[in-house]
Symmetry: C2
Subunit: 354 residues, 2 copies
């Protein structure tokens, strides 16, 4: 059955039936004009919104419906993580082509609901709209943060160490593997032999099912281990530029220390590419960038005691000169590459909501 | 200049510059990974989301950019009004075709910001995404409501009077006037003589610039003058069915009492239509429907003392039998017409986000 055969009310009812019962803090859940949620005492409200658009952020050729639902929530959870906040509730706005099978919409909802459950987040409401164009999944996420324990992009100071969580480049390499954009001969189903430079399940999973670093962000903010944070939705280069600009600092990155995802490095090496550059520019890893004060080693250990995974790696320092945006490659200094921009790189599929 | 020539960061910066400085309750405003807002003591959080999609909810042929921005916020303010809540903050998610002129995006933002200002609402964040398809404007609205002073769809009881605010049918007739769908000869620019059945500025304005009934909803909930409420986004017939179903009641409507917008009635009469049926089915008036207990006349007067405009009109009663959905036309009983459904009435442009 297609979406257009069912009608909006019936479709909404089917989707809502797939959600777990919301907790007692949700006073009015899905199905009314709005949702009502109790405040958490002595915490501030944190809100963010992000959309995924078909053929811009994903393609149904290599994203299952549940992947789309997962990722639409994950990109918002990553923003929450970057503030050091705890997610609580979500609103889902679906802009649906009438030709979509109802079972695919249910699959999308299941992917979103599963990740929501993992992060203690309730889907409290939403909206379904028809479109003659591509699918748009817009999620708004609400959460809490303790007073004076949040992280913005603007708090870094010269001398602070730059840390990133996890590995870099996996999601971009994964997209190239899935879509065949890295090299035509490697398109889906082209059947390469396994080994160096072949498709890599870790990279593909990082593209389709990013794991937002919610616990890490909260631990770093709660322990006051970081002064600034941002997520790597549009890539490391973009994040460094944004944090540097908001903080009035420069950055100097040591290329040798970058934790490039091994499967991604092999993929680019096998194609004669530059793994460092690809990993620095490539977006969608949804790792976190932190500014850590040099004297904050004790606080950093405290934060890591609670959340040891993913690893975090020091990749450089914030510097005094706001114009200095430098990548140090074994002593040779290069300007830091530009990041992705939605409207300027049409058709790559790699741009990402901010 | 087109959106695609500018880049996302520069476009965001230009749009944010058009917003007024947020109040002190907004601790982190637009431009970071998320926004942070303080809670209002002893109030609950109310959240809702709604999208407008180009060629589904509006057409650029007869909506100026500022109309689109106004309406995208208005439909959400109307949901807030239907809960009896006070709006506080909004998140704007724009899914933009690259071919849009930047000046039009600025116009859209101005229309939204002006209505936000009127309702004491701050745009605290948002997101811009590229699309190869139609424009989508998704707004999430947050607000506050006092404990036990909110209105849902589910509180009506048999015997309660049914009231609606303002007039009915204006927005639907306005759409027909603007788009020429009511009658080909009346399309924009076709130049009819003024008089009975001609285009009507009130109706066209109700279509393009609906006025959400925020003060009325808050006054009715605050005075406990109503037991249930819903807004007429998808029309009176749809709202009656929804409130009746959620409350386990039937409804009996007296057609003679319906406050049909005069210009709309003339429009449909001149075309041999049935103004009652058109006004009952037609959506987008964004008036409010209330269930008012018979013994609540004093509370109703209290609520009206504070908010006298728009007028409210008794149009029927809730009844015991949940299967009874009846329109009484001078003693002749008809079944209440069905409401709009997005996926079932393609191409009319009259369907509306719920």
């Amino acid at each position: 059955m297609k979406v257009k055969d069912l009608g909006e009310h019936a479709l909404l009812a089917r989707l809502l039936a797939r959600l777990p019962r919301p907790p007692a803090t949700v006073l009015v859940g899905p199905g009314d004009d709005a949702a009502i949620v109790t405040h958490v005492r002595n915490q501030h409200l944190v809100v963010t919104t992000d959309s995924l658009v078909e053929e811009i952020h994903f393609s149904r050729r290599y994203f299952a419906p549940a992947d789309i639902g997962h990722k639409a929530l994950a990109v918002n959870l990553s923003d929450m993580a970057a503030m050091g906040a705890s997610p609580r509730w979500a609103l889902l706005s679906l802009v649906l082509p009438g030709s979509w099978p109802v079972s695919d919409v249910e699959g999308l909802m299941d992917g979103l609901a599963e990740l929501a459950r993992l992060h203690g987040t309730s889907v409290v409401g939403g909206n379904i709209t028809r479109t003659n164009g591509p699918l748009v999944v817009d999620v708004t996420l609400g959460g809490d943060v303790r007073p004076r324990r949040w992280l913005t992009r603007g708090g870094a100071r010269p001398g602070d160490s730059i840390y990133v969580s996890g590995t870099l480049g996996g999601a971009r390499a994964g997209l190239e593997m899935l879509s065949g954009t890295g090299n035509p001969s490697t398109a889906l189903g082209a059947g390469r032999e396994p080994g160096a430079g072949s498709r890599d399940l870790v990279c593909e999973t990082r593209q389709r099912r990013p794991e937002p670093r919610v616990r890490l962000g909260r631990a770093m903010a709660g322990a006051r281990a970081a002064r600034a944070a941002m997520d790597l939705s549009d890539g490391l280069a973009d994040a460094l530029r944004q944090v540097a600009a908001a903080s009035g600092c420069g950055v100097r990155i040591d290329a040798a220390t970058l934790p490039i995802e091994p499967g991604a490095a092999r993929w680019w090496q096998a194609r004669g590419g530059d793994p460092v550059r690809s990993a620095v520019v490539g977006g969608e890893d949804y790792e976190l960038l932190f500014a850590v004060p040099t004297r904050g080693a004790g606080k950093l250990r405290n934060a890591r005691r609670h959340v040891a995974d993913p690893p975090i790696t020091k990749i450089g320092v914030f510097t005094k000169d706001p114009g200095e945006l430098v990548l140090d490659r074994s002593g040779e200094l290069e300007p830091l590459p530009m990041g992705y921009e939605h409207f300027r790189e049409p058709g790559t599929g790699s741009s990402e909501p901010s």
